[in-house]
Amino acid sequence: MTLLSETRSTVFHRILNREYFVYYALILVIVFFAIVLADTAFLSTPNFMNIIRQTTPITVMAVGMTFALAVGHIDLSVGSVVALSALVCSLLVDVVPWPFAVFAGLCAGMLVGLINGVLTEWLKVSSLLITLGSMGVISGVARVITNLESIPVTNDTFTFVFGSGSLGPISVMFIWTLLALVLGWVFLSKTRFGSHLLAVGGNPTASRALGINVVKVKITAMVIAGGAAAMAGMLYAGRLHGARYSLGEADLLTVIAAVAIGGTSLFGGRASVAGAVVGSWLMGVINNGLILWGFSTNEQIIARGLILIVAVAIGVKEDRK
């Protein structure tokens, strides 16, 4: 129709669109490492399955964080929730039937999300500050309840289901990744609930005027972020056969970088679950490549920081529109 020329949706624009950036970046990084690390096992199925195994907790957290960012919130407490839920679950798993322990761990994370969400709405301050505070409180609690000791987990069913097991060549972690991807994508992109999340993040005033319960939607998003972080905590506990207060401590930067590079706006209204999952893979591949190349954790942290800055730089133009 006649007004089509008024819009900026040329083919060129669509291909260079920010939402595809993460896919190009992943391919580029894999090709780069495949060349540089040609004499290693980098480009092999077991290594990629290993990357998935390592990355799945990040992936799950990233999907949860996508929901928080969709409404215009951010959850800095995810790393500490990982430790809290992993500890709660580990303390209970050899005492009560393991599904109850899992449920308790999940509830702990969702409760933190609920408190974060309610405090943010009640005090009308940025979720950045509220979750910065709760991050401190929870990681302190995680230290106190365990007296800085590790909690071992011996329940084989639990450790199998939550990360250590595999079905043939496929790690259960891969199944958890797929589950996070599908559930997150369906709820964000296909349901009324997801549509309202993005509407609230995109224009809260208009959403309220159209009758959406903005407060409820925003709190729900924080509960989802907390629940996902709790899930990630239990995947750590299952994979490592135990939990420790330091679990998830270094994950916050990785998660935010993964989500941001995946095309989710850090200011609400635009979110991509698939982008977050692929973003977490990108972080995983870079970590893996750097290790095989002989770099230390220090360089990995630098790489993560740079990726976040790149992601923000790409996103900022789009967000300000």
Partner: protein
């Protein structure tokens, strides 16, 4: 209520609306009515009570006293949802759309069509296809030239966005559409497009209450003008009977209604 004359062609009538905020009397007994298919301009200087009156009718701030009568029935409007249930839709000046949503998602926001499959429906699964189909019908009804329903609203012009807002109001079977400065954020040509839309929906029998500062637009699209001054309806005049200068005089208080 004592027996009053019943006018079936009246879409909306307000009687003796009072509203105070603290000690300030914003509305001191405003009465007027709008016929079906009529466009009434609501004019007045800043602080005259236009916005307060609109908020009363649209349920944002319920009035302290006075009646709102729709299709001859007195109605109780306590919230924006009540107003919507009574067939009153409001189009806001600040382009109340979700920038990252496409046209059809904006049209159907919070009134989504869900999948007919009961299981999927339970999970709130959206029927995008049906929403796109109905969006097309809704926009055709308004002769709107929206390029594509998959286009994000932020890539559309201000006039097109306002067209989507108006389509959203009309699409929900509104009998009365309140427009709060719908052209304030728009350029000349796009404002003209919105004015044409207003004429079109009025020709379809919808009553429009248009709040505007733009005398020229009021003269062009309205049948009648209600002028508020100091919380009262200072004038209620047919546009054909008045000159733009006289209208300005009524707003500023330099002229009194005959």
């Amino acid at each position: 209520m004592t027996a009053e004359y019943h006018v079936p062609d009246t879409a909306l009538e307000v009687r003796e609306i009072h509203k105070s905020f603290g000690g300030v009397q914003a509305l001191k007994g405003v009465s007027f009515s709008i016929l079906k298919g009529e466009v009434v301009g609501l004019l007045g200087d800043n602080g005259a009570g236009k916005s307060t009156l609109v908020r009363c009718i649209s349920g944002v701030h319920p009035q302290d006293s006075g009646e709102i009568i729709i299709n001859g029935q007195e109605v109780d409007i306590k919230s924006p949802q009540d107003a919507r249930d009574q067939g009153i839709e409001t189009v806001f000046q600040d382009l109340a759309v979700i920038p990252n949503f496409d046209v059809s998602k904006n049209l159907f926001l919070n009134r989504e069509i869900l999948s007919s499959n009961p299981v999927l429906k339970f999970f709130g699964w959206l029927d995008h296809k049906e929403m796109n189909r109905q969006s097309e019908i809704a926009l055709k009804r308004l002769n709107s030239r929206i390029p594509s329903f998959s286009e994000e609203i932020k890539n559309l012009s201000g006039g097109q966005r306002q067209a989507v807002s108006i389509a959203r109001a009309v699409n929900w079977g509104a009998d009365i559409v309140i427009m709060d400065e719908p052209t304030a954020a728009l350029g000349v040509e796009q404002a003209a497009q919105v004015n044409n839309l207003i004429k079109l929906i009025s020709s379809q029998g919808i009553a429009v209450l248009l709040i505007s500062h733009n005398i020229q637009h009021v003269m062009e699209v309205c049948h009648r003008a209600v002028v508020l001054r100091h919380g009262r309806a200072a004038a209620n005049v047919r546009i054909d009977d008045i000159t733009p200068d006289d209208l300005v005089g009524l707003i500023t208080g330099a002229k009194r209604a005959a």
